[in-house]
Assembly symmetry: C2
Homo-oligomer: 532 residues x 2
């Protein structure tokens, strides 16, 4: 993983001259791209891990698994939002963690968090480091030192229960390796978010990730049957049955907990037989409303394919430009079916009937093939755009079907208004990315002239968009989680009393407040209440 | 609802002489049935509601909605477990609530719980009163007075959102009335537990109920998209989207909270178009293992019908005796499909292929029709059996598919051993009642000679069965909830740290500990921690 860009440097992309010219013409981008300093120019503060803490942590993991060198610290500077990358391009490394610790077992993680609690050392659990919401930012929040707890060595398939159709996976396992381990036994997890190449099992659970095939395989949180969590107060093992009426579902407190309550070390998830067949289709709808209505009909009839998405007119056009192909009329929808050949045929036919009834037209197979080839490439393209002086970023939300059109309108208008300048017009587009019987999620992308101070311009646009989402009744995030960036809207999301509940849970499990400080739970609520 | 038996007295059942003789022959029941005192023989303690509390509560709801008469108090003596009914038959009413309060709005409920917190008056939220786990027991647990908060006046359909396929229902609405309100608009909830006639929307959510059609419509908790809760610390409104990554899912703390954290007053649930067609089928499998394997195959292939259950050999025989018909060979399975005619036909055919491949044989339609006629009658039959000197009760659990056979074996053996006497042999049978991709639930019924002290004999058997379930890794309850009766196993279910989390949430929302005392959360954990 590149330290100052997305992904594998070998896969970095460059724009063609014609694409660059199109950006200048349509967005009015200026020639100047944001700076991009060399890694050698970074100046890290000296590590601040106190010696007694260092000695105790080393006693658990061994010298080679507690690193304080610049190379390790630079790779744990935070996540991969556009502001994260812009800061790194500027050479900002003042917040580097004091050490990177790589435990090899649940028991080691448990021992580490207890030691850190004793020494008031903040702990940032670190999986693939792909957070786009500041979820792995090394934020000390008053603690004298901070470690990045990198779970990469927890990469085993612990157990495959073929009868129950579940697998227990260690939290640090990345998706390609998880698919390889499961694939060797004939199974798949079926979780394919854009961060697929790097993100980890624990990260998916901790952030309630949703993949491109969530319509068929389910959101990650819906796949989880059991969890093991190491908290400063001890270990929790949750999940004794596929479903239970034994009180509140405590697994649901740790799904989405983003490392603020403890470290997920093992996750038991549903797995499926690797599909024998896959069929991708591309469809066109005359409008975004028609495409959305079609997806709603499928979701409410229990007929969702394995994957389905609908781009609005602008996204349909932009994606065609990126792919160097002609844009289809209207709004592009990609549909994918996986399963036994019989099932793919049966479901495929039922879905085609519904899509056709909603004014859908089947397009050439090559359009769907182009989507599949490029489906993980968006973040690489962002780096190429930044190099060209284009600020590009995404945000996403979800609401009921009844609220979707108004939500799209207000977010689009808000982002456009805030990113416009005297000399440039931004492009804002979106797709319906995930669908449920009662609603769906919208995934927005913006491209604008980076100009001067792109970080503060984005911050203002993001603030306004978040407020618009909250006012429209949407959720502040459907699958990117809260981290630092969405924390200001948590009170709108669950109410002040809901925030108090979260803070009470945190105080119970993490009384010293060392677990991933500054994330998820609004600050005021994490202070212990005055004694009454 | 009868005060000392299940349901509508007009529907009370009596056994035929031949059935009674069969029970004497097979179970060795003695002639003597447990006592059954008249209601007029009950002696209630004087109401203990302090005058300031009474005045304040009355100011909220009005005189006619705060009742302290015997008739009202007797109808709120507790739930409908067999021990509950035996106690009432014995004339035990010492624990009657001091008053029954029937609020008419969320705002009134909010005001009532705040007043009760101020006056240290315990509050038992009361819906249909159908708990079989002591969930609505008026347990004071040190509080000087207790009210039963009967939600029957909260019986409105607040909103139907046809586009999103959701309905907002008030918590005190009973299922037949909910189906009537939704049915008038062409919709159904599809939730049909045995308690269907009496149980309420709020009760289903508070206990994570599962109905007979859960395979098709989902468990009740899975239908819920939003909740409104009145707690002593204020109101929570949770649920802004069909799915979200905005932190832990706090709805999941209130689903299954059984009134210990607050009062659910409104629930937004998924609704479906009322099905145009229904097809019931009865199948026979050569063994319970074969039937279970068939259901597992359907669940894992995403092919579950609307309803499916498999009885073991003994239950198959007993049900035939009760129905006065010949028992089919092996194990009876009932399968039901609902939906559009096309969908019923298509899914019906796919399911038939799987069942046939698992050694299933389709039986005469009349067998399925008999199941549908009698599917809510089990609790009425229990009263007739008690009148005949037969102790009958149920319990249920769930686990993974891999653990199901061993769980069934240990529970059956434990119950049989503990209910056997020198002169009688109990009958213990079960069915697979609910299925998921990763496992299923087992619903056990026992019938034994009531003999002397049936309550203490059942208590010992239940204790041993609960320990056996915990040791086998099952959940202590799949859909009956925790209440008083399963509270001893909560620590086994979620661990000591999980119990601490629940207690911390309760202290935050209900610092005075007035909400449904003695339920769900183990006692030690509900005490405030010593100041450190």
């Amino acid at each position: 993983m590149a330290w100052n860009a997305w992904g594998d440097p070998a896969h970095a992309r460059q724009l063609e001259d014609s694409q660059r010219q199109l950006l200048v013409d349509t967005l009015g981008v200026s020639a100047a791209a944001p700076p991009r300093v060399e890694r050698s120019a970074l100046r890290l503060p000296p590590g601040a891990l106190p010696e007694p803490a260092r000695a105790a942590l080393t006693a658990v993991v061994g010298e080679e698994h507690l690193r304080t060198d610049d190379a390790a610290r630079i790779l744990h500077l935070g996540g991969k939002s556009t502001p994260d990358l812009l800061r790194r391009r500027e050479g900002d490394a003042h917040h580097a963690p004091d050490a990177v610790v790589t435990p090899g077992s649940h028991e080691q993680v448990q021992a580490l968090v207890e030691i850190c609690a004793e020494h008031a050392v903040a702990v940032v659990p670190f999986g693939g480091g792909t957070s786009v919401v500041g979820g792995v930012e090394p934020a000390r929040e008053g603690h004298p030192a901070l470690i990045s707890l990198d779970l990469r060595r927890l990469d085993a398939l612990v157990e495959l229960d073929e009868e129950s159709g579940t697998a227990t996976l260690q939290a640090g396992l990345r998706t390609p390796e998880a698919e390889e381990l499961l694939g060797a036994e004939g199974y798949t997890l079926g979780h394919f978010p854009q961060s697929f190449e790097f993100a980890t099992i624990g990260g998916y659970a901790a952030t309630r990730s949703a993949g491109q095939s969530s319509a068929g395989y389910g959101r990650f949180d819906a796949m989880v049957t059991a969890l093991k969590v190491a908290t400063p107060r001890g270990t929790l093992d949750l999940g004794r049955a596929p479903a239970t009426a034994a009180g509140p579902d405590l697994r649901q407190l740790f799904l989405g907990s983003e490392g603020t309550l403890g470290v997920l070390t093992e996750v038991t998830v549903r797995v499926r037989r690797a599909p024998a067949e896959r069929r991708d289709e591309a469809w066109s709808f005359p409008s975004f409303a028609a495409g959305t209505a079609a997806v709603r009909a499928l979701a409410q009839r229990g007929l969702l394919p394995t994957a389905i998405r609908v781009s609005d007119e602008t996204e349909t056009f932009v994606n065609a430009v990126i792919a160097g192909s002609a844009a289809p009329e209207g709004c592009l929808s990609v549909v994918s079916h996986e399963g036994d050949p019989d099932e793919v045929a049966r479901r495929g036919e039922a879905v085609r009937q519904v899509l056709t009834a909603h004014e859908g037209s089947l397009l050439d197979d090559e359009v769907a093939a182009a989507w599949r080839r490029s489906r993980f490439s968006g973040p690489y393209m962002r780096d190429a755009l930044l190099d060209t002086g284009v600020l590009t970023e995404t945000l996403e939300t979800a609401t009921s079907w009844a609220g979707l059109a108004a939500l799209r309108e207000t977010v689009t208008a808000t982002l456009t208004a805030h990113l416009r300048t005297a000399t440039s017009t931004p492009v804002v587009f979106c797709h319906l990315s995930h669908a449920y019987p009662s609603g769906g999620s919208l995934y927005f992308t913006v491209a604008a002239d980076a100009g001067e101070e792109p970080r503060s311009r984005w911050r203002a646009a993001k603030q306004a968009a978040g407020d618009a989402i909250a006012a429209a009744g949407g959720s502040i995030t459907h699958h990117h989680a809260v981290g630092q960036d969405h924390r200001p809207w948590m009170e709108a999301e669950v109410g002040p009393l809901g925030v108090e509940v979260l803070a009470a849970v945190k105080r119970t499990l993490d009384p010293a407040g060392i677990m991933n400080p500054g994330k998820l739970i609004p600050e005021a609520a994490t202070q212990p209440p005055a004694v009454s």
